[in-house]
């Protein structure tokens, strides 16, 4: 792939992303979001406040918004400890708060 055609493909992707909707599940409930939406945002849009439980079982949610604090960790497709503030949604994701 040449650089020029890669750029064209990129532009096409960006255009497509403008309108594409993505379907995921948050704690078993179906949620529809725009393509490119961060998982953390989708979880908030789904109405969840608690993203995970701490060592002493306190509810926690995102703090830093930039992948440093690790408070936004959720389980995605069975894999634990995914930082939702750095993860864009993908079609079919099964998301569980921890």
């Amino acid at each position: 792939m040449t650089e020029a055609s890669a750029k064209n493909l990129l532009a096409l992707c960006l255009d497509t992303m403008e309108t594409e909707q993505i379907h995921i599940r948050v704690n078993g409930r179906p949620v529809t979001v725009a393509a490119g939406t961060l998982l953390a945002v989708a979880i908030a849009q789904a109405g969840e406040t608690s993203f995970r439980h701490s060592v002493r079982n306190e509810s926690r949610g995102p703090l830093c918004g930039m992948g440093v604090c690790n408070e936004c960790r959720v389980t995605v497709n069975g894999q634990l400890h995914i930082r939702s503030c750095l993860t864009p949604c993908e079609e079919g994701m099964d998301v569980r708060t921890q």
């Binding site: 060592v55 894999q79 634990l80 400890h81």
Partner: protein, 377 residues
């Protein structure tokens, strides 16, 4: 300064702490000194297992004696010591290693250590995340894991209850033949006798002591409760542990009470630095993934190194030094310091007080290494 103690112990790691607790319990006035914090050496960087080993009679005697003492102590341990009796699962990758499993099974059974034999299916049922095709394994039922820095602190607290004093941030330059220690700042503390429990640094206090630093790497993961149930060790661990020259890795994984996995193990001589070395770290992790492929997807949150204090014959050095009856040794525990700390402390106290030790002390006496020490000078 006119302070006087019966015993000055240099080193506030697990061995020094255990010795302090035992000697204080016996009524001796104990002072513990450490240039750093509690458990800042191998104690703070190790895997924290409590295991019975079968590689020699002397190793078996000390580890089984010590494990019994740990199990007796367990009800008194605070929660942050996290002493879990998860058992050790020795795993055999092939028939040659399985032969070793049978030998171990016989060895432990004959000596009354509870073990369970597994075939390939059984070992995977015991640990579903092991790769298929394992030949089998041996579970040592009453082995366990704990969190060593808190265990060392507990033992020092015990010692303090019996009038012991602990001074941290105090560096010792020399153990004095007439009893006591000379500090780095030039001052002296007099004592009936001093104990070198400085682990990997013990040769700096006792010149010529044949203790070498054996570097190890470890990785800890995020929390994955239930991924691993036992401490799991490959039988190749024994080959790795016994090699005296080559850098080696051997699969060894431990569940922590937190649900985190501790992944090891590696061994290097002549690697004095504390830095994490990518080549051996990656070899170690690749080895782990060969046994448990699922480990690859787990999140590794920290890696670190430590130095085990290793002796030429793989046995610790416990007892009166050859130079002076007022200088004693409790060091050289390599990869079994946590396990054998309690047995070491009992032996040391018994020898100091002239009591008959529960197990023969000869294999661990400093004198046995005297010939080796003269080669070092």
């Amino acid at each position: 300064m006119a302070e006087h103690h019966d015993i000055v112990i240099v080193g506030a790691g697990i061995v020094g702490a255990a010795c302090a607790a035992e000697c204080a319990r016996a009524g001796l006035k104990v002072l513990v000194l450490d240039r750093g914090c509690v458990g800042g050496g191998a104690t703070g960087s190790c895997m924290g297992h409590v295991v019975v080993m079968s590689d020699s009679e002397a190793q078996f005697a000390l580890t089984s004696y010590s494990r019994r003492l740990w199990l007796e102590l367990r009800p008194n341990l605070p929660p942050d010591v996290e002493y879990e009796i998860c058992g050790t699962l020795w795993v055999a990758a092939d028939e040659e290693e399985m032969a070793e499993v049978y030998r171990k099974h016989k060895f432990y059974s004959e000596r009354g250590v509870r073990v369970e034999l597994f075939d390939g299916a059984g070992v995977r049922a015991a640990e579903p995340n092991l790769r298929p095709g394992m030949a089998g394994g041996l579970r040592v039922v009453d082995d366990g894991v704990l969190y060593p820095p808190c265990a060392a602190r507990f033992l020092l607290d015990r010692a303090r209850e019996n009038r012991a004093e602990v001074r941290l941030g105090v560096a010792v330059r020399e153990l004095l033949a007439e009893g006591g220690v000379l500090l780095e700042d030039g001052s002296r503390i007099s004592a009936g006798l001093s104990v070198n429990a400085a682990g990997a640094w013990s040769p700096s206090l006792t010149r010529g002591l044949p203790v070498r630093k054996r570097k190890g790497h470890l990785v800890i993961t995020d929390r994955y409760p239930g991924f691993v149930h036992h401490q799991i060790v490959e039988l190749g661990y024994l080959k790795s542990a016994h090699s005296m020259t080559a850098d080696s890795v051997a699969f060894n994984v431990q569940p922590r009470k937190t649900g985190q996995l501790l992944v090891g193990s590696s061994r290097q001589f002549d690697a004095e630095g504390a830095e994490v070395e990518q080549p051996i770290l990656s070899r170690m992790l690749q080895r782990a993934m060969e046994y448990m492929p699922g480990i690859g997807r787990l999140s590794a949150i920290r890696a670190w190194t430590g130095h085990r204090p290793a002796t030429p014959d793989k046995l610790p050095i416990i007892g009166p030094s050859v130079e002076s009856e007022r200088i004693w040794m409790a060091t050289g525990h390599e990869g079994l310091g946590i396990t054998t700390s309690l047995g070491t402390a009992r032996l040391l106290a018994d020898l100091i007080l002239g009591r008959k030790p529960e197990i023969p002390a000869e294999p661990y006496l400093p004198a046995r290494l005297a010939a080796k020490m003269s080669h070092h000078d």
